[in-house]
Structures are given as C-alpha cells and as structure tokens.
C-alpha cells in the first residue's frame, strides 16, 4: 500500500512537469500581454514593466527562469493584484474552494448513492422511473441554470438565503447545492447501474435464499461491491467539481480558485494562471491516487499496478 502511494507521488512529478510546460507555452502563444489592458500606459512604461518582470526575454529563457523559480517553491507574483504573490492569493482562495468542493462532494454522495440504490432495488416501479428521470434531468442542466434557479427561489423570491459572497455557513448552502446537483445525478445513475449488476450475482441469490431480508442483502452484500465503480469516478468527479466551481464561483461572487483562474486568463496574469493550473492538476493526481488506494480497501482482490 505504502509503495503504491509512493509510486503515485513519484509519477506525479513528470505529469506536473508536462502540464506546466504545455500551459506555459500555450499561454505565451496567446496574443497580448499582462499590461495591455491597462489604461493608456505609455509604451516606455510597458517596456519597463516587461523588463522588470523579465517578460522581454525570449520565451524559452523565461520558461527556464520559471521552472528554476518553481523548483525553489516560488510561484511568482501576480501582475494584476498589486503587491501580492501567487502563493498569497492561492492560499486565500484554496481553502474557500476546498470547503465549497468538499461540501458539494458530500452532498452529492449523500443524495446520489441512496437515490441510485433505491432506484435499483425498486427497479421498474414509479420510484425508479422518477429517480431516473430526475437524474437524467440533473446531468442535463447547466450549472448556471441550477444556480440561477436557486438564487431566484431562495434569494429573490423567498429572501431567506444570501446569494453572494462567502462569509457565513449560510452563504455556503446555495453554492454547495448548485455545485452538487450534477454530480449527485451522475452518481445516482452510476450507482443504479452498478447495484443492478451486482444484484444478479450468485452470492446475492445465496444470501437471499439463506433467508436474509431484502434490505439487509442490499446493505451487507451488494453495496460494498457496487461501490467500486462509484469510487472509480471520484477522479472524474473531482474534475466536474473543479470545472463546476468556475461557474458557481462566478454566479455567487465567491473568491475561490475558479474565479481567480478565469480572471487570470482574461488578464494574462501569467504566473497566476500557471499556479492555478498546477494546483488543479495536483488535486486531480491526488484524487486519482486516493481512488487506487480505495480500490484495495473495497476489494482486496484487486491488484493495482502502479
């Protein structure tokens, strides 16, 4: 187990390097620089700024400079948020995004897995049909529509929940619900398919013929096995949550990573783009590693090759 985790961490380094390289050159191929949008800066000042931040050097040289700095743990500074390093910004934005993301993930699992299980166990009944309609609808709604709908109902019409900023637990409710909606639907569909498959296995029949009740068969013999594919999607799910949070943070004006990433891209805030992308990639690598470890706990027969 430990060897697996170590191996995963070691392969993370080259993957992050590839991501960093791709992002770096992609970013520099984009026309425009960080100081173009500023109002009427004389060319001389722009030239000075570029020189100060070493943006006047050839791109290949800048790449080497960046990687050297990165190796020392220096993520650089923001060109837009005056006197703030990328590390400053990210260490403020990251906890916000992590809170939002984990709240949403929790909600998605709490709603999605039971809904899918229920639909599978009650296969063919109106409950199944309703649950599946709901979850197909759930994966078909753009995040901004869910968000706007919730804002309209709870913020504008009922006026019971705050619809912007990130200050109290009450501020978390709507964004977390918005973010959780699609993943919950996705999980419900997946859990249903997986439980249905397991319910057909021989050992489930054995358990039933032993006289175990329907529900205790489901809870004790089916769910644990059915959860393997559910855990597998934890990786893609994290990706959904990350991209979802771009929209949710935009909708609710939450100062999280997604919002900083979107503004950084439009501002050509090079170091901030790099920093955010690398953090996102690292997050994905970590969740994929967790998935591998979780596999072995759920099903010891599975030998994961690093």
């Amino acid at each position: 187990m430990l060897a697996l985790i170590l191996k995963r961490l070691l392969t993370a380094v080259p993957v992050l390097l590839v991501v960093a390289t791709l992002t770096f050159f992609l970013m520099r191929m984009v026309p425009g620089g960080p100081f173009d949008a500023d109002k009427n800066l004389p060319p001389a000042i722009v030239a000075n700024l570029n020189a100060k931040y070493q943006l006047d050097k050839p791109v290949a040289e800048q790449y080497v400079i960046y990687l050297t700095r990165l190796a020392k743990g220096d993520l650089g500074i923001s060109y837009k948020y005056v006197n703030r390093t990328v590390l400053d910004i990210l260490s403020e934005a990251m906890p916000v995004s992590l809170q939002l993301g984990s709240a949403a993930l929790l909600l998605a699992v709490i709603i999605g897995v039971p809904l899918g299980t229920l639909a599978a166990v009650k296969r063919g009944t109106w409950l199944d049909v309703a649950a599946m309609f709901l979850s197909t609808a759930g994966i078909s709604v753009p995040g901004f529509v869910t968000g706007a709908f919730l804002i309209f109902i709870f913020g504008i019409w009922l006026k019971i929940l705050p619809v912007a900023l990130w200050e109290s637990p009450a501020h978390m409710i709507l964004p977390a619900l918005t973010l959780a909606f699609s993943p919950a639907a996705y999980l419900a569909r997946l859990t249903r398919a997986s439980v249905l498959e397991i319910l057909e296995k021989d050992w489930v029949r054995t358990a039933r013929s032993k006289g175990l009740s329907h529900w205790s068969t489901v809870m004790k013999h089916t769910l644990r096995n059915a959860l393997v594919p559910v855990v597998t999607v934890l990786g893609p799910l994290t990706a959904i949550l990350i991209t979802g949070s771009f929209v949710v943070e935009y909708l609710y004006a939450i100062p999280g990573m997604g919002r900083f990433f979107v503004t950084a891209v439009t501002n050509r805030d090079y170091d901030l783009i790099m920093g955010t992308t690398l953090i996102f990639a690292a997050l994905l690598i970590v969740t994929n590693a967790i998935v591998d470890v979780a596999y072995q706990i759920l099903d010891p027969r599975m030998k994961v090759e690093g």
Partner: protein, 299 residues
Amino acid sequence: MTASLNTALEQPAKPVSRVALAFARLKKIPAAYVAFWVVCLICLMAILSAAGVPLSPYAFDQATDDLLVAPSMKHPMGTDELGRDLFARVIYGSRLSIAIGFVTAGVAFLLGTTYGAISGYCGGKIDTLLMRGVDIAYSLPDLLVMILIGVLVGKGTFGILFALGLVSWMGTARLVRAQLLQLKEEEFVEAAKAAGQDGFTIVMKHLLPNAMGPIIVALTFTVPSAILSESTLSFIGLGLSAPECSWGTLASDGWRSLRAHPHLLGFPSLFIFLTVLSFNALGDGLRDVLDPRTRLFKG
C-alpha cells in the same frame, strides 16, 4: 405446423437492415422514442432557421417596438432590452448551439476513431504510448483546457469549435481502442489476414463496422456535452459573445437582469435543458439498443 413452415420457406424473411432493427427496438423504450422525436424537431428548427425559413413573425430583424416586455400572446417569450423578440432569438440561436454540438461530435468521431484504431490495432508499445497521451489529456479538466485554448485561438465560433473538438475525442479514442483490442482476436480477422488483406482494409472493413454501435452511442452523448460546454463557457464570458448568438450567449445576457426579467434567462435555459435532456435520454436508449455490452436485449 407444416403449413406455417411452408409459408415461411416460400416467403423468405425480408433482410432487415441494422438501422431499421435498431429503430424498431428503440420504439419499445418510450423515453428514448419521445426523445428521438424531440431531437428531430429541435434539429429541424435549427436547419429551417439556417435555411431562411421564417419560423416566427419576427424572424428577420427580430425587432419590435416593445422593450423588455414579459411573455405575452404577442411575444410568447417576451422581448429583450433592445426590443428583440426572444422567441425569434431563441430560434436563431439554435443554429449555432446545434451546429456546435454536431460539429464537435464529428471531430470527436474523426479524431477519436483514427487515434483509437491506430492504438488498438497496433497494440504493444505504440498502444501504451498513445494511451499515456490520452491519460494526460484526460487528467486536465475540460473547461480548463477549453479556456486556455479559447484564449489562444480566439473567442469566435472557430475558437470554440477547436477547443471543444480538442477535449471531446479522448473518450471515443479509448472506446474504439478497447473495442478493437477485443475484436482483432476474432476469427474473421484472422481469416481476413490469411486472405492477404492489409491492416488498413481490415480496420476499415472488418473492425470498425463491428464497433459502430458503441461509437454511435458515445457520439450521441458528445453532442449534449458540447452544447453544455459551449453554453457554460459563453455564460462565464469566455465563450461566444455578441454579435454571435447561441443559447449560451442569450442565457449569459439574461443573467444580468435575472431579478427584474427572469424570462430572458429562463427561456434560453429551457431550450438548452430540453435539447441536452433529449440527447441524453436518446443516448441511454441507443445504448440499450446498440451496445452489445448492455444486456437488455439478450440474444
């Protein structure tokens, strides 16, 4: 008994095409069948609109004298701040939204099938290398890549299509590879090889046609996800913007006046939702019908 056998012998069963067979099976799944017709209707709307057929009284300049009116008999979906009839705008926007969905699926098909076929047919080291590439491409969140690419290529329709195409092919590639890895061990492939056919012919004539079912299913899911991605990108201001008009840009414009004029966001969103829902439901149905790995229709 003999009589029925005789008639059966006298009138050999008409060869049923695979498409007709699939369609007959689809009919038995009510949700998918309804979804199929909704998809047809929406596509028809987009095609007619692109062909210049006026589907609404305000189809041509969309302009009216009523600014920001709520939905009424005269304007079923209301009007926007410039007095443009929203119903006409939603019809007009369907062209771009639907086109983006289909073009992306087309790109995913071409790119993904080629890549997956090479990987699956060659196998070995080439396969490992190509699939590592897919793993890396997969590990980045789509929206992240699309935002970066979109900024690179430009925010117009071409930029969006390029970005969407680039993030949509990996799933198809993986699928085609997995199918081919399995199929190439079959005896008919061995027979084709023994008959002296080259790799290209075997892939095109023998392997891909057999893998078509799952590929079509995957493509059916690519269309709605492209429509969703486009609208999301446009919504956060990194996709299309005026003068381009898609359901995403309409929703994005509507978001700014949600409090006072919810219809401006509501109707474009409803169309995005309906379209994506129908494609997803159709995809679910097609998977049951076309994909041999699902077991709804045994034998």
